[in-house]
Symmetry: C2
Subunit: 210 residues, 2 copies
Protein backbone atom coordinates (compact mmCIF):
# COMPACT_ATOMS: atom_id res chain seq x y z
CA UNK A 1 0.00 0.00 0.00
CA UNK A 2 1.30 3.38 -0.93
CA UNK A 3 1.81 5.62 2.05
CA UNK A 4 -0.32 8.66 2.20
CA UNK A 5 2.73 10.70 3.10
CA UNK A 6 4.54 9.71 -0.08
CA UNK A 7 2.98 12.62 -1.84
CA UNK A 8 0.88 15.54 -0.82
CA UNK A 9 -2.55 15.80 -2.35
CA UNK A 10 -1.32 18.23 -4.94
CA UNK A 11 1.79 16.28 -5.71
CA UNK A 12 -0.19 13.14 -6.30
CA UNK A 13 -2.65 14.99 -8.50
CA UNK A 14 0.08 16.25 -10.79
CA UNK A 15 1.83 12.88 -10.63
CA UNK A 16 -1.31 11.25 -11.98
CA UNK A 17 -1.68 13.87 -14.67
CA UNK A 18 1.98 13.62 -15.65
CA UNK A 19 1.76 9.86 -15.88
CA UNK A 20 -1.41 10.06 -17.91
CA UNK A 21 0.39 12.48 -20.20
CA UNK A 22 3.24 10.03 -20.65
CA UNK A 23 0.95 7.11 -21.31
CA UNK A 24 -1.00 8.98 -23.95
CA UNK A 25 2.23 10.08 -25.54
CA UNK A 26 3.39 6.50 -25.77
CA UNK A 27 0.35 4.82 -27.22
CA UNK A 28 -2.56 7.18 -27.64
CA UNK A 29 -5.92 7.16 -25.96
CA UNK A 30 -6.13 3.40 -25.76
CA UNK A 31 -3.05 3.10 -23.59
CA UNK A 32 -4.63 5.25 -20.93
CA UNK A 33 -6.55 3.17 -18.42
CA UNK A 34 -7.09 3.61 -14.73
CA UNK A 35 -5.38 0.36 -13.81
CA UNK A 36 -2.33 0.86 -16.01
CA UNK A 37 -1.88 4.39 -14.80
CA UNK A 38 -2.26 3.41 -11.16
CA UNK A 39 0.15 0.51 -11.33
CA UNK A 40 2.69 2.76 -13.00
CA UNK A 41 2.79 5.04 -9.98
CA UNK A 42 2.39 2.30 -7.40
CA UNK A 43 -1.17 3.01 -6.39
CA UNK A 44 -4.45 1.19 -6.76
CA UNK A 45 -6.90 2.11 -9.49
CA UNK A 46 -9.40 3.49 -7.02
CA UNK A 47 -6.96 6.15 -5.90
CA UNK A 48 -7.35 8.00 -9.17
CA UNK A 49 -10.99 8.54 -8.37
CA UNK A 50 -9.93 10.26 -5.23
CA UNK A 51 -8.30 12.97 -7.29
CA UNK A 52 -10.31 13.04 -10.52
CA UNK A 53 -14.03 12.72 -11.08
CA UNK A 54 -13.66 10.15 -13.81
CA UNK A 55 -11.42 9.02 -16.60
CA UNK A 56 -13.13 11.50 -18.90
CA UNK A 57 -12.20 14.19 -16.45
CA UNK A 58 -8.59 13.10 -16.60
CA UNK A 59 -8.66 13.05 -20.38
CA UNK A 60 -10.00 16.58 -20.29
CA UNK A 61 -7.03 17.66 -18.17
CA UNK A 62 -4.64 16.08 -20.62
CA UNK A 63 -6.46 17.88 -23.41
CA UNK A 64 -6.08 21.09 -21.47
CA UNK A 65 -2.34 20.61 -21.42
CA UNK A 66 -2.38 19.94 -25.15
CA UNK A 67 -4.30 23.15 -25.71
CA UNK A 68 -1.65 25.00 -23.72
CA UNK A 69 1.11 23.58 -25.89
CA UNK A 70 -0.84 24.38 -29.00
CA UNK A 71 -1.27 27.96 -27.92
CA UNK A 72 2.44 28.24 -27.19
CA UNK A 73 3.15 27.10 -30.74
CA UNK A 74 0.68 29.44 -32.42
CA UNK A 75 1.78 32.31 -30.24
CA UNK A 76 5.49 31.78 -30.82
CA UNK A 77 7.64 34.49 -32.44
CA UNK A 78 8.22 32.22 -35.42
CA UNK A 79 4.75 32.93 -36.70
CA UNK A 80 4.23 36.37 -35.24
CA UNK A 81 7.27 38.03 -36.79
CA UNK A 82 6.76 41.75 -37.46
CA UNK A 83 9.39 41.52 -40.19
CA UNK A 84 7.17 39.15 -42.13
CA UNK A 85 3.90 39.86 -43.85
CA UNK A 86 0.70 38.72 -42.13
CA UNK A 87 0.15 36.18 -44.88
CA UNK A 88 3.62 34.78 -44.35
CA UNK A 89 3.01 34.56 -40.65
CA UNK A 90 -0.31 32.83 -41.13
CA UNK A 91 1.23 30.33 -43.51
CA UNK A 92 3.84 29.63 -40.90
CA UNK A 93 1.09 29.14 -38.33
CA UNK A 94 -0.61 26.62 -40.56
CA UNK A 95 2.68 24.80 -41.07
CA UNK A 96 3.39 24.71 -37.36
CA UNK A 97 -0.12 23.54 -36.60
CA UNK A 98 0.13 20.69 -39.03
CA UNK A 99 3.55 19.78 -37.76
CA UNK A 100 2.14 19.70 -34.26
CA UNK A 101 -0.65 17.38 -35.37
CA UNK A 102 1.90 15.02 -36.90
CA UNK A 103 4.68 15.01 -34.35
CA UNK A 104 2.38 15.05 -31.35
CA UNK A 105 -0.24 12.89 -32.96
CA UNK A 106 -1.45 11.05 -29.82
CA UNK A 107 -2.24 14.29 -28.03
CA UNK A 108 -3.73 15.97 -31.04
CA UNK A 109 -5.89 12.97 -31.83
CA UNK A 110 -7.08 12.70 -28.28
CA UNK A 111 -8.07 16.33 -28.45
CA UNK A 112 -10.00 16.18 -31.71
CA UNK A 113 -10.73 12.56 -32.49
CA UNK A 114 -12.02 11.32 -29.15
CA UNK A 115 -15.64 11.77 -28.26
CA UNK A 116 -16.30 13.18 -24.81
CA UNK A 117 -19.74 13.73 -23.33
CA UNK A 118 -20.74 17.29 -24.25
CA UNK A 119 -21.28 18.30 -20.65
CA UNK A 120 -17.60 17.62 -20.03
CA UNK A 121 -16.30 20.08 -22.59
CA UNK A 122 -18.63 22.85 -21.56
CA UNK A 123 -16.50 23.65 -18.55
CA UNK A 124 -15.39 27.26 -18.63
CA UNK A 125 -11.65 26.78 -18.14
CA UNK A 126 -11.65 24.46 -21.11
CA UNK A 127 -13.63 26.81 -23.31
CA UNK A 128 -11.30 29.66 -22.38
CA UNK A 129 -8.28 27.69 -23.49
CA UNK A 130 -9.94 27.01 -26.82
CA UNK A 131 -10.87 30.64 -27.17
CA UNK A 132 -7.26 31.66 -26.71
CA UNK A 133 -6.20 29.65 -29.74
CA UNK A 134 -7.84 32.13 -32.08
CA UNK A 135 -6.06 35.20 -30.76
CA UNK A 136 -2.74 34.93 -32.65
CA UNK A 137 -4.49 34.48 -35.96
CA UNK A 138 -6.77 37.39 -35.17
CA UNK A 139 -3.73 39.56 -34.59
CA UNK A 140 -2.32 38.72 -37.98
CA UNK A 141 -5.61 39.58 -39.63
CA UNK A 142 -5.77 43.05 -38.11
CA UNK A 143 -4.33 44.91 -41.08
CA UNK A 144 -7.05 43.67 -43.40
CA UNK A 145 -9.90 45.17 -41.42
CA UNK A 146 -10.86 48.64 -40.37
CA UNK A 147 -11.53 49.59 -36.80
CA UNK A 148 -15.27 49.25 -37.33
CA UNK A 149 -15.03 45.72 -38.62
CA UNK A 150 -14.09 44.07 -35.37
CA UNK A 151 -16.81 41.48 -35.62
CA UNK A 152 -15.88 40.54 -39.16
CA UNK A 153 -12.27 40.17 -38.13
CA UNK A 154 -13.20 37.78 -35.33
CA UNK A 155 -15.28 35.83 -37.78
CA UNK A 156 -12.44 35.67 -40.26
CA UNK A 157 -10.03 34.36 -37.65
CA UNK A 158 -12.42 31.61 -36.63
CA UNK A 159 -13.14 30.71 -40.20
CA UNK A 160 -9.51 30.51 -41.19
CA UNK A 161 -8.53 28.54 -38.12
CA UNK A 162 -11.39 26.10 -38.53
CA UNK A 163 -10.57 25.68 -42.17
CA UNK A 164 -6.92 24.90 -41.57
CA UNK A 165 -7.94 22.55 -38.85
CA UNK A 166 -10.39 20.90 -41.21
CA UNK A 167 -7.67 20.32 -43.77
CA UNK A 168 -5.33 18.98 -41.15
CA UNK A 169 -7.97 16.78 -39.60
CA UNK A 170 -9.12 15.17 -42.81
CA UNK A 171 -5.55 14.55 -43.85
CA UNK A 172 -4.46 13.03 -40.56
CA UNK A 173 -7.48 10.76 -40.40
CA UNK A 174 -7.09 9.62 -44.00
CA UNK A 175 -10.23 11.35 -45.16
CA UNK A 176 -8.72 13.90 -47.52
CA UNK A 177 -8.10 12.32 -50.91
CA UNK A 178 -4.94 13.71 -52.44
CA UNK A 179 -5.21 15.70 -55.64
CA UNK A 180 -2.10 14.18 -57.16
CA UNK A 181 1.51 13.57 -56.36
CA UNK A 182 2.91 15.58 -53.54
CA UNK A 183 0.09 18.03 -53.01
CA UNK A 184 -0.81 17.68 -49.39
CA UNK A 185 -2.77 19.55 -46.77
CA UNK A 186 -0.05 22.15 -46.26
CA UNK A 187 -0.10 23.23 -49.90
CA UNK A 188 -3.84 23.47 -49.67
CA UNK A 189 -3.59 25.53 -46.51
CA UNK A 190 -1.28 27.98 -48.25
CA UNK A 191 -3.62 28.23 -51.18
CA UNK A 192 -6.48 28.74 -48.78
CA UNK A 193 -4.76 31.51 -46.88
CA UNK A 194 -3.79 33.38 -50.01
CA UNK A 195 -7.20 33.13 -51.56
CA UNK A 196 -9.20 33.76 -48.45
CA UNK A 197 -7.26 36.86 -47.47
CA UNK A 198 -7.45 38.24 -51.01
CA UNK A 199 -11.13 37.57 -51.03
CA UNK A 200 -11.70 39.11 -47.63
CA UNK A 201 -10.17 42.36 -48.78
CA UNK A 202 -12.49 42.51 -51.76
CA UNK A 203 -15.61 41.51 -49.89
CA UNK A 204 -14.83 44.01 -47.16
CA UNK A 205 -14.57 46.79 -49.71
CA UNK A 206 -17.86 45.79 -51.27
CA UNK A 207 -19.68 45.69 -47.94
CA UNK A 208 -18.33 49.01 -46.73
CA UNK A 209 -18.52 50.69 -50.13
CA UNK A 210 -22.03 49.58 -51.05
Amino acid sequence: MARRSDHSREELQTLILDTAWTLVGQGGTETLSARKLASKIGYAAGTIYNHFDSMDDLILRVNGRTLDELFAVLNSPACNDPAHSPVQNMKKMAALYMEFAKTRAPYWLMLFNTALPPERTEITWYQEKIDLLFAPLETQLTSFFTAGQEKRKKMAARILWSSIHGLCFLEETDKLPLVSGKIGALDMANYLIESFVSGVVIVNKLKSGG
Copy 2:
Protein backbone atom coordinates in the same frame (compact mmCIF):
# COMPACT_ATOMS: atom_id res chain seq x y z
CA MET B 1 -31.20 -21.00 -30.79
CA ALA B 2 -31.95 -19.13 -33.93
CA ARG B 3 -32.47 -21.40 -36.88
CA ARG B 4 -30.02 -21.16 -39.67
CA SER B 5 -32.90 -21.17 -42.15
CA ASP B 6 -34.46 -18.09 -40.58
CA HIS B 7 -32.35 -15.94 -42.82
CA SER B 8 -30.00 -16.54 -45.68
CA ARG B 9 -26.42 -15.46 -45.23
CA GLU B 10 -27.05 -12.25 -47.08
CA GLU B 11 -30.30 -11.53 -45.32
CA LEU B 12 -28.68 -11.94 -41.94
CA GLN B 13 -25.79 -9.72 -42.97
CA THR B 14 -28.09 -6.88 -43.92
CA LEU B 15 -30.25 -7.55 -40.88
CA ILE B 16 -27.22 -7.04 -38.68
CA LEU B 17 -26.23 -3.89 -40.54
CA ASP B 18 -29.77 -2.51 -40.43
CA THR B 19 -30.02 -3.17 -36.73
CA ALA B 20 -26.65 -1.57 -36.12
CA TRP B 21 -27.88 1.42 -38.09
CA THR B 22 -30.96 1.67 -35.92
CA LEU B 23 -29.01 1.36 -32.70
CA VAL B 24 -26.56 4.07 -33.69
CA GLY B 25 -29.44 6.30 -34.70
CA GLN B 26 -31.02 5.86 -31.31
CA GLY B 27 -28.08 6.47 -29.03
CA GLY B 28 -24.87 7.01 -30.93
CA THR B 29 -21.74 4.94 -30.93
CA GLU B 30 -22.06 3.91 -27.31
CA THR B 31 -25.37 2.15 -27.87
CA LEU B 32 -23.81 -0.16 -30.43
CA SER B 33 -22.45 -3.30 -28.81
CA ALA B 34 -22.24 -6.86 -30.06
CA ARG B 35 -24.43 -8.23 -27.28
CA LYS B 36 -27.13 -5.59 -27.57
CA LEU B 37 -27.26 -5.92 -31.30
CA ALA B 38 -27.39 -9.71 -31.17
CA SER B 39 -30.12 -9.85 -28.56
CA LYS B 40 -32.18 -7.42 -30.63
CA ILE B 41 -32.28 -9.83 -33.55
CA GLY B 42 -32.51 -12.97 -31.48
CA TYR B 43 -29.00 -14.24 -32.03
CA ALA B 44 -25.97 -14.74 -29.84
CA ALA B 45 -23.16 -12.23 -29.83
CA GLY B 46 -20.78 -14.62 -31.51
CA THR B 47 -22.95 -14.79 -34.61
CA ILE B 48 -21.99 -11.27 -35.55
CA TYR B 49 -18.41 -12.39 -35.92
CA ASN B 50 -19.55 -14.92 -38.44
CA HIS B 51 -20.61 -12.11 -40.71
CA PHE B 52 -18.29 -9.24 -39.82
CA ASP B 53 -14.60 -9.25 -39.01
CA SER B 54 -15.03 -7.15 -35.91
CA MET B 55 -17.08 -4.41 -34.39
CA ASP B 56 -14.83 -1.85 -36.06
CA ASP B 57 -15.63 -3.49 -39.34
CA LEU B 58 -19.32 -3.12 -38.63
CA ILE B 59 -18.86 0.52 -37.68
CA LEU B 60 -17.10 1.04 -40.98
CA ARG B 61 -20.10 -0.37 -42.81
CA VAL B 62 -22.41 1.96 -40.96
CA ASN B 63 -20.08 4.82 -41.85
CA GLY B 64 -20.24 3.70 -45.45
CA ARG B 65 -23.97 4.05 -45.38
CA THR B 66 -23.64 7.50 -43.85
CA LEU B 67 -21.27 8.51 -46.63
CA ASP B 68 -23.84 7.36 -49.16
CA GLU B 69 -26.51 9.49 -47.54
CA LEU B 70 -24.16 12.43 -47.37
CA PHE B 71 -23.38 12.14 -51.04
CA ALA B 72 -27.06 11.98 -51.88
CA VAL B 73 -27.54 15.26 -50.01
CA LEU B 74 -24.62 17.08 -51.61
CA ASN B 75 -25.56 15.76 -55.02
CA SER B 76 -29.20 16.70 -54.77
CA PRO B 77 -30.79 19.16 -57.21
CA ALA B 78 -31.35 21.61 -54.36
CA CYS B 79 -27.68 22.54 -54.39
CA ASN B 80 -26.88 21.84 -58.01
CA ASP B 81 -29.48 24.11 -59.53
CA PRO B 82 -28.45 25.55 -62.91
CA ALA B 83 -30.77 28.48 -62.31
CA HIS B 84 -28.68 29.53 -59.34
CA SER B 85 -25.18 30.90 -59.28
CA PRO B 86 -22.37 28.55 -58.26
CA VAL B 87 -21.86 30.56 -55.09
CA GLN B 88 -25.53 30.20 -54.23
CA ASN B 89 -25.35 26.49 -54.85
CA MET B 90 -22.27 26.12 -52.70
CA LYS B 91 -23.86 28.06 -49.90
CA LYS B 92 -26.80 25.72 -50.12
CA MET B 93 -24.42 22.77 -49.95
CA ALA B 94 -22.85 24.12 -46.82
CA ALA B 95 -26.27 24.66 -45.29
CA LEU B 96 -27.38 21.14 -46.17
CA TYR B 97 -24.16 19.66 -44.85
CA MET B 98 -24.53 21.40 -41.53
CA GLU B 99 -28.15 20.43 -41.33
CA PHE B 100 -27.14 16.85 -41.92
CA ALA B 101 -24.60 17.03 -39.13
CA LYS B 102 -27.25 18.30 -36.75
CA THR B 103 -30.26 16.24 -37.64
CA ARG B 104 -28.32 13.02 -38.16
CA ALA B 105 -25.85 13.75 -35.40
CA PRO B 106 -25.24 10.15 -34.25
CA TYR B 107 -24.21 9.03 -37.71
CA TRP B 108 -22.21 12.11 -38.48
CA LEU B 109 -20.38 11.91 -35.17
CA MET B 110 -19.61 8.26 -35.62
CA LEU B 111 -18.16 9.12 -38.99
CA PHE B 112 -15.94 11.96 -37.86
CA ASN B 113 -15.61 11.81 -34.10
CA THR B 114 -14.87 8.15 -33.55
CA ALA B 115 -11.33 6.90 -33.83
CA LEU B 116 -10.87 3.80 -35.92
CA PRO B 117 -7.56 2.00 -36.46
CA PRO B 118 -6.01 3.56 -39.59
CA GLU B 119 -5.72 0.23 -41.38
CA ARG B 120 -9.50 -0.01 -41.24
CA THR B 121 -10.20 3.20 -43.13
CA GLU B 122 -7.64 2.49 -45.85
CA ILE B 123 -9.98 0.07 -47.56
CA THR B 124 -10.57 1.10 -51.14
CA TRP B 125 -14.36 1.03 -51.19
CA TYR B 126 -14.36 3.38 -48.22
CA GLN B 127 -11.86 5.75 -49.76
CA GLU B 128 -13.86 5.81 -52.96
CA LYS B 129 -16.98 6.85 -51.14
CA ILE B 130 -15.08 9.69 -49.51
CA ASP B 131 -13.63 10.73 -52.82
CA LEU B 132 -17.10 11.00 -54.29
CA LEU B 133 -18.08 13.63 -51.75
CA PHE B 134 -15.91 16.22 -53.42
CA ALA B 135 -17.39 15.85 -56.88
CA PRO B 136 -20.49 18.07 -56.51
CA LEU B 137 -18.46 20.93 -55.10
CA GLU B 138 -15.92 20.53 -57.86
CA THR B 139 -18.68 20.86 -60.41
CA GLN B 140 -19.82 24.14 -58.93
CA LEU B 141 -16.29 25.48 -59.03
CA THR B 142 -15.84 24.80 -62.73
CA SER B 143 -16.69 28.26 -63.95
CA PHE B 144 -13.92 29.86 -61.91
CA PHE B 145 -11.12 27.90 -63.53
CA THR B 146 -9.82 27.54 -67.04
CA ALA B 147 -9.41 24.22 -68.76
CA GLY B 148 -5.72 24.13 -67.90
CA GLN B 149 -6.31 24.61 -64.19
CA GLU B 150 -7.79 21.23 -63.49
CA LYS B 151 -5.44 20.52 -60.63
CA ARG B 152 -6.10 23.84 -58.97
CA LYS B 153 -9.81 23.26 -59.25
CA LYS B 154 -9.51 19.90 -57.54
CA MET B 155 -7.48 21.53 -54.82
CA ALA B 156 -10.02 24.28 -54.37
CA ALA B 157 -12.85 21.78 -54.00
CA ARG B 158 -10.97 19.85 -51.35
CA ILE B 159 -10.01 23.00 -49.55
CA LEU B 160 -13.49 24.40 -49.49
CA TRP B 161 -15.05 21.13 -48.43
CA SER B 162 -12.51 20.60 -45.66
CA SER B 163 -13.01 24.13 -44.47
CA ILE B 164 -16.75 23.86 -44.26
CA HIS B 165 -16.36 20.56 -42.53
CA GLY B 166 -13.91 22.14 -40.10
CA LEU B 167 -16.41 24.86 -39.23
CA CYS B 168 -19.16 22.33 -38.81
CA PHE B 169 -17.01 19.99 -36.78
CA LEU B 170 -15.76 22.57 -34.35
CA GLU B 171 -19.26 23.91 -33.88
CA GLU B 172 -20.87 20.53 -33.30
CA THR B 173 -18.21 19.46 -30.83
CA ASP B 174 -18.37 22.74 -28.92
CA LYS B 175 -14.94 23.85 -29.99
CA LEU B 176 -15.84 26.88 -32.05
CA PRO B 177 -16.32 29.90 -29.79
CA LEU B 178 -19.07 32.11 -31.07
CA VAL B 179 -18.22 35.61 -32.20
CA SER B 180 -21.30 37.15 -30.72
CA GLY B 181 -25.03 36.74 -30.72
CA LYS B 182 -26.47 34.64 -33.46
CA ILE B 183 -23.38 34.31 -35.64
CA GLY B 184 -22.90 30.61 -36.06
CA ALA B 185 -21.01 28.24 -38.28
CA LEU B 186 -23.39 28.71 -41.19
CA ASP B 187 -22.81 32.45 -41.36
CA MET B 188 -19.13 31.78 -41.26
CA ALA B 189 -19.42 29.22 -44.03
CA ASN B 190 -21.19 31.76 -46.21
CA TYR B 191 -18.54 34.35 -45.50
CA LEU B 192 -15.89 31.74 -46.29
CA ILE B 193 -17.42 30.77 -49.59
CA GLU B 194 -17.81 34.36 -50.74
CA SER B 195 -14.31 35.34 -49.77
CA PHE B 196 -12.58 32.20 -50.92
CA VAL B 197 -14.19 32.24 -54.33
CA SER B 198 -13.44 35.92 -54.80
CA GLY B 199 -9.88 35.28 -53.74
CA VAL B 200 -9.50 32.30 -55.99
CA VAL B 201 -10.45 34.36 -59.02
CA ILE B 202 -7.81 36.94 -58.19
CA VAL B 203 -5.08 34.48 -57.34
CA ASN B 204 -5.80 32.53 -60.50
CA LYS B 205 -5.41 35.68 -62.60
CA LEU B 206 -2.12 36.50 -60.90
CA LYS B 207 -0.70 33.02 -61.41
CA SER B 208 -1.72 32.81 -65.05
CA GLY B 209 -0.95 36.45 -65.85
CA GLY B 210 2.47 36.61 -64.19
